[in-house]
């Protein structure tokens, strides 16, 4: 079956512009995660959606970052007024369930964001 898909695969934008990154999770997966991977760094947690519960936004680095998940499926990560330090690969993952379970997180290929 289809895995996690993300679009666009690459995005180049100018400093100060807004960008939207899209994630299509695996069908039936109730949990969705966004991570950020900067060069030479590990994956940094950004936000987590579980079903219809309020999202866990504890990893968002500033109020310029926000995310939505519509209909319990597709998610959009929005970065407003982009800065050069926002340049990174943004990874989306989904799992069958989240929370305290041990369900595997399946990652998409990521969106490489470059802010000029």
């Amino acid at each position: 079956g289809a895995g996690v898909s993300q679009s666009p695969s690459n995005k180049v934008t100018e400093k100060g512009k807004d960008v939207e990154l899209r994630c299509d999770p695996i069908s039936g997966h109730t949990a969705l995660y966004w991570y950020r991977q900067s060069l030479g760094q590990g994956l940094e947690f950004l936000i987590y959606f579980q079903g219809n519960s309020a999202p866990d936004k504890s990893g968002l680095p500033s109020d310029r970052f926000s995310a939505e998940r519509t209909g319990g499926s597709v998610s959009t990560l929005t970065i407003q007024r982009t800065q050069q330090e926002d340049s990174a690969v943004y990874l989306c993952a989904s799992s069958l369930v989240g929370g305290t379970g041990y369900n595997e997180q399946f990652f998409g290929p990521g969106t490489r964001l470059t802010v000029l």
């Binding site: 947690f45 993952a93 041990y102």
Partner: protein
């Protein structure tokens, strides 16, 4: 505050050798420890995972060793192959509250020379 520390940052091993990557954690509430493998241009993929009720888990050439008292765990790749060349991330996840996300180490870039 880095809750999962991974070493080394990079590793070069000859084909057929053993690759060893180490991780240490601080939070005793962590109770799930996966290792992810990432190839260039791809997202990470789960390689093997362990829970702290066992000290070792083996899947093919990949073994996790877990030391709960030392709060350390390691990945051993036996008979390393050039196709194993990738970046490896250890991670940890807690059991309490609503935390669903993984806490990742900074990664180890493994190169296996033919």
């Amino acid at each position: 505050q880095q809750q999962v520390k991974q070493s080394p940052q990079s590793l070069i091993v000859q084909k057929g050798g053993i690759s060893i990557i180490n991780c240490a954690y601080e939070n005793t509430a962590f109770d799930y420890f996966p290792w992810y493998q990432q190839f260039p241009g791809k997202g990470p993929a789960l390689l093997i995972a362990i829970r702290p009720d066992v000290s070792e888990k083996k899947e093919g050439r990949f073994t996790i060793s877990f030391n709960k008292s030392a709060k350390q765990f390691s990945l051993h790749i036996m008979d390393s192959q050039p196709g194993d060349s990738a970046t490896y991330f250890c991670a940890a996840k807690g059991s309490g509250g609503s935390q669903g996300n993984l806490i990742f180490g900074k990664g180890t870039k493994l190169s296996v020379k033919p």
